[in-house]
Symmetry: C2
């Protein structure tokens, strides 16, 4: 498509580089920005630039952070004996949103996936080792995707570190709250029967 203006063409080109946004959506977004006060577009552009330039990663857990050590790692009230291993920063946010976990995290930065060319060396598995070597961690929780890649990653980490005196656990898998049994997939339903829990009023 020919654009009537070079700055528009350039903006559409850059915006459509984002995942899930094609040329038509990018044009729609660009035209939206042009209908708003210019300050909104300037603020958006600045925020994106600041994001990619100023973002820091916590040296301890590889979560995003404004400082060298993130707020969670720096928080003495959180239980350093429990380490929750997640793939991604989004998982930290999702678990934090539940307010059910008061331990610390370790962000792997992905999962082992030969299909996508991601091996253990690309993940922050050495940081787990560093944490385990301090002897402070008593339990390591795998909070990884319920996929083959997630399972492979958990198994790899378990094999590598099972000699440490640490209890390994995995987040429960079963029927989600609100799910109807007849529509649940067989594997989840099967697992939820095998790993049934003692009935508890507060469950």
């Amino acid at each position: 498509m020919d654009y009537p203006s070079k700055v528009l063409a350039k903006a559409v080109d850059e915006i459509s580089g984002l995942p899930g946004i094609g040329k038509k959506s990018a044009l729609r977004l660009a035209l939206h920005l042009l209908r708003q006060p210019a300050s909104q577009g300037v603020a958006l552009g600045t925020a994106i630039q600041n994001l990619v330039i100023d973002i820091k990663y916590c040296k301890d857990c590889h979560n995003f952070s404004d400082n060298d050590i993130c707020e969670i790692c720096a928080d003495d009230k959180r239980n350093a004996e429990v380490l929750c291993v997640v793939e991604d920063v989004r998982d930290v946010m999702a678990i934090e949103n539940t307010s059910k976990f008061k331990g610390k995290y370790l962000v792997l930065g992905g999962k082992i996936s030969p299909m996508e060319g991601v091996g253990p060396a690309q993940l922050h598995i050495d940081s787990i080792e560093k944490k385990l070597e301090t002897g402070e961690v008593k339990e390591l929780i795998f909070a990884l995707s319920a996929t083959m890649e997630g399972d492979t990653t958990a198994y790899y980490i378990y094999k590598k570190f099972k000699q440490f005196n640490v209890q390994f656990s995995s987040i429960a898998r079963g029927i989600s709250v609100g799910d109807e049994l007849e529509y649940a997939d067989e594997i989840s339903l099967g697992r939820s029967i095998v790993n049934r829990l003692p009935y508890n009023e507060k469950l």
Copy 2:
């Protein structure tokens, strides 16, 4: 949701200000940018800022332009006797893509829509008047949405300028190429029968 970093929170906030992009999609886009080289985010931010700061509008037709007068208006080979009235810059691009129109355009900047608080005064209707007053325009084509707002806008412009010695026309409405009759809506099908055309091999 709590974000682990202020620059991330700010970027998500700004990105989710775009239409059709919620907080979760904005976070996904921000995390995508963080996985790419920082130069991509910087280029995107710059392109957006340049767009909103440097964009110009053609003084003649209100299309976007890099100069005071857009390429179409400045093109002597195009027929200034035929003026195509459209709502939006996107419509100019859509019609240009067909390569079937060699006249000039006038971008209204919207359509009359009392629901959205858009009246004739907000549209570039005075620019149509200016063009008609030169006496150069022989035909005025309405290429507006086939909606009530589009029809209202066309009617308003027709009423206002019918004293000018100009032929008014509207783009044809009917069955789109590839449409099955049984699935076409009644109004389009009805109009296409009423406004039937002489059969033509080249149709």
